[in-house]
Assembly symmetry: C2
Homo-oligomer: 339 residues x 2
């Protein structure tokens, strides 16, 4: 009997690769070998006859790939929390299951969110730059030198209030924040899911906002943590920044296009807000050294490292392989997208 | 009757300056006007006849200054948490009181400590540099790209366990740390002061270490938060780094000379530890752009901004003025050093 064919678009790490390798007896494993992202032409060519495909965020899963694979394809296992790169309708119409790894990165992203909030308030990027440029010896001390707003006593506004946002709120409580407000797709309504018991019961008020306007006006810290949809694209633009407080900061840990980058540059230039810190940005990773956002001393930009901890990436890899195998065998996945 | 003379070595901010100015009827206020640090010669000249002097961290308070002021001097009010710049014995022998502002900056420094821990683990400085240098478009994605250790599950070791360290621990709890250990001047003994009820009762073990060795060996995160004394100078040196875990990070928010900078550069060079983040460093602020620590991608250095929040600096200024006035009137200060 011919072995079941699977295609994997990346060398995996440690435990994940080991689980996969243990199946060599039953599976024909075709795996992209280079450190560079998998080439589209290689994937299209090798997908032919595959029953399962394990893909990265950088691999587009569309009609063309499904067509190239053939009707025996049963499962796509994506090593990612987002599934923007996958044509869900195409999978659904062919009855192909989709696995992903949304939960294991919650802590890593929430940790990074706290780092970014503090860097935006405490002028982290600007501070580092001054020291690296040798400016420290010439910085005359003044009581307000390099000061920023303090997080204690602040109102924190969440655009989107899912698991990562709630894990961030949990971390923020001992910093002495005063209040949390959140905007979801159901403005003014309590969040549907209460992952850590903070929606029903926290030591501070945690309340739904009725509009983006209200959230912009009241927040000292704005955290962008919602999904990217047609209605959230450029949700944060000139109008939103215009309503924010002058000492407020904004952090984006979700998807770049939710913030209008041109509007952010303008808001920073005109000191409409105090600062920003971004893990994601429109058109990433194609951010050249002359990009206008990089000229803003009060903006920190890191290269989409939200889930970049050793522990999380190992767990994501392992869960992707488990999802792949579950899909082949008709078993329950660790996390499956309802198509 | 002649007015009581006070000398203030800096223009103050908002409320603090206002409280001072309201006393113009009773006081002769001599105040340094420039944005630059007060010149020593100006201070020595103007101190003559002063009953109170409000100084910054950069103003040395020694025999020579007290001599120049004269025997009517009753109070030194320092706008600082540390009093390294003050000759306490000289004050004591002349029966001069010393006010300082140690408590109001706890939150600001603890906040910054969290930022620095996360930057050391999550490669904050390295990340920013890659983006600024235009390297993002050419960073081939890999599951371990830009990954660092995750704080969840870690053991956090505190060198010194005073108010700021304990406030940092309070913030760390919801990040899911597993254990805290601390070394004080009484190794193996429980901390004398329990500022937030965490020494007696926390949700995780919080235990005294018996030695610096033990703390170095067991910690995933080391936080330097002790006072600088002859016995803590270079407490963290080659020997200490040699015992640390390869994935551990170190953060210094106390005083530069507690860490031997040459040893730190070597430890980073040889990958004995994962990373470092410093708010203070030996010989600050004289850190030139060619300083060897600035060549280490896994080290973040910020220019002593621990207490640099608008709220804290305003409160420090106000408390300094209150201490000065209390010293003139023989009233209780907000915070007074026992000499």
């Amino acid at each position: 009997m011919a072995k079941t064919k699977v295609v994997v678009t990346r060398q995996l790490i440690d435990e994940a690769q080991q689980i996969l390798d243990e199946k060599k007896g039953e599976l024909e494993i075709v795996q992209w070998q280079s450190e560079k992202p998998c080439e589209r032409s290689w994937l299209l060519e090798n997908a032919k006859g595959a029953t399962g495909i394990l893909v990265m965020l950088s691999d587009k899963v569309d009609e063309k790939l499904l067509e190239a694979a053939g009707s025996q394809l049963k499962v796509i296992a994506s090593f990612s929390v987002g599934t923007d790169h996958v044509d869900r309708d195409a999978l659904k119409s062919r009855n192909i299951r989709l696995g992903y790894t949304p939960t294991c990165l919650t802590d890593a992203v929430a940790d990074l969110t706290i780092m970014l909030i503090l860097m935006a308030q405490r002028r982290g990027g600007e501070s580092i730059a001054k020291v690296i440029n040798g400016e420290w010896p010439q910085m005359p001390w003044h009581p307000l030198l390099m000061t920023g707003p303090q997080i204690g006593g602040s109102t924190v506004g969440f655009l989107g209030f899912g698991r990562i946002a709630q894990a961030t709120l949990k971390r923020l409580l001992p910093f002495g924040i005063k209040k949390a407000i959140y905007l979801t797709s159901r403005p003014g309504q309590p969040a549907k899911e209460d992952h850590f018991g903070l929606v029903k019961q926290a030591t501070i008020p945690v309340e739904p906002a009725t509009s983006a306007d209200q959230l912009a006006k009241e927040s000292d810290v704005v955290i962008v943590g919602c999904a990217l949809t047609p209605s959230t694209k450029h949700l944060v633009s000139t109008d939103f920044f215009g309503k924010m407080k002058k000492l407020a900061v904004i952090v984006n840990i979700a998807r770049g296009p939710i913030i209008d980058t041109d509007a952010l540059v303008k808001a920073l230039d005109e000191e409409q807000i105090f600062g920003a810190a971004l893990d994601v940005i429109e058109n990433e990773p194609n951010i050249q050294a002359n990009h206008p956002i990089l000229k803003q001393p009060r903006c920190v930009l890191v290269p989409h490292i939200g889930s970049a901890t050793i522990e999380t990436r190992e767990q994501m890899a392992t869960e992707s392989v488990k999802n792949l195998l579950a899909g082949l065998n008709g078993d329950a996945m660790v996390n499956e997208v309802e198509l």
